[in-house]
């Protein structure tokens, strides 16, 4: 006999209930929606040492360079700050690392030595649509419409990442942090993420394997980091603006006046007033 909830259950029942705990841990991960600016933990895949085996470990989303000494440095780094003379230092946003700059700046060592994969079932991006106000003029602030972007026929896919262990000199603890690599948007993502025209570097199996295991040259790293998955391979679902609060956050909605997405090489433009919401 074993105890579960302080009630005696049979050994077989206890075993099954303990197995369900593993399922629940998995479900909690599957149903979770990770918001970058929470700087929370996210499951990341990395090789185990120099082997061909991999492990899924949790890392903090938001790359922290080793020169940061403590929590206060991290706060300043992420939020920006003014020094004693009043000079303002801008915040560094390291949730994403652009492919073009991967070998130029703080990510170089990580790009050469610590590459990882970020598993995902989908990512969210917001289309910015100019709104016409009551006066008939365009308002300064665009209205934002969220989309869930997935890969057709693929339950899970991999995005390129680089990771960095960060040592807090005060607490004397190490936190593994990572940044998600982004590339130029394909034709579909140009329509959705029309404010920045970027998208995650989503890697097919062979490139994911090379990114994780191979001894890559600088050029190889840039080539893979710049890889663009074709828009035909993606599927985008428009979501409710408050989708995070919804019972079913991935329920498709229809917005009147928002341009219809065009898949493939065809560029949007055949629509009247593309990007204009009435």
């Amino acid at each position: 006999m074993c105890y579960y909830n302080s009630v005696k259950v049979t050994q077989e029942e206890y075993k099954q209930l303990k197995e369900l705990e593993t399922v629940v841990a998995f479900l909690n991960e599957e149903f979770a929606i990770h918001k970058g600016f929470d700087y929370g933990d996210y499951p990341v895949i990395r090789p185990i040492g120099n082997t061909r085996d991999t492990e899924r470990v949790k890392m903090q989303w938001g790359f922290l360079p080793p020169h940061l000494k403590n929590g206060e440095d991290v706060k300043r780094f992420r939020n920006g700050y003014k020094d004693e003379s009043g000079r303002y230092f801008k915040p560094y946003l390291t949730l994403n690392a652009t492919s073009e700059e991967l070998l130029n700046k703080m990510y170089k060592e990580a790009a050469l030595k610590r590459r990882c994969l970020i598993p995902s079932i989908g990512f969210y991006e917001w289309m910015h649509v100019q709104v016409v106000g009551k006066s008939g003029k365009l308002l300064k602030t665009a209205e934002k419409f969220p989309y869930l972007v997935r890969l057709k026929g693929q339950e899970e896919f991999y995005m390129a990442g680089v990771w960095q262990p960060w040592f807090d000199t005060e607490s004397r603890t190490v936190t593994n942090t990572f940044s998600l690599v982004t590339t130029a948007a394909n034709s579909l993502m140009k329509q959705i993420h029309n404010s920045k025209e970027r998208m995650p570097t989503i890697l097919p199996g062979d490139l994911a394997e090379a990114w994780l295991y191979h001894d890559l040259s600088d050029q190889d790293i840039l080539d893979i980091a710049n890889y663009q998955v074709a828009s035909e391979e993606m599927i985008a679902t428009p979501l409710d603006k408050d989708f995070l609060k919804k019972t079913n956050p991935h329920e498709r909605v229809v917005y009147k006046g928002v341009p219809e997405l065009v898949y493939g090489d065809e560029q949007p433009g055949s629509h009247e007033n593309p990007g204009l919401l009435f």
């Binding site: 579960y4 302080s6 005696k8 099954q16 369900l20 705990e21």
Partner: protein
């Protein structure tokens, strides 16, 4: 190819979402089949509570949260009863602890 996705039974979502009530608020509940058993996922704002029906050594059924949390015992018993009522009402079925 990569072999990084650990082997595991993929849980299956069954049926439609239904609602449970607690302290005058309604919470969505979804049925999930995993390892041959039924788990009920109840969404409380941004977190989930999982409950299932189990049986003690004397063959008496009771509801438990997964993982176990003694502080939720009464809540889980209440929610479990509501789940049973819902199943009886909508599907003329009831729950069992075994497979």
């Amino acid at each position: 190819m990569l072999t990084c996705k650990p082997a595991r039974t993929v849980p299956e979502i069954i049926g439609e979402i239904f609602f449970l009530e607690f302290k005058e608020a309604r919470y969505p509940c979804r049925t999930i089949k995993a390892n041959g058993r039924l788990l009920y996922q109840i969404k409380f704002r941004s977190s989930y509570l999982y409950v299932t029906k189990t049986v003690n050594q004397h063959g008496i059924f009771f509801w438990t949260s997964i993982p176990q949390d003694l502080t939720l015992r009464r809540l889980v018993a209440d929610l479990g009863k509501q789940i049973e009522d819902h199943l009886i009402k909508t599907a003329c079925a009831t729950t069992t602890a075994s497979k």
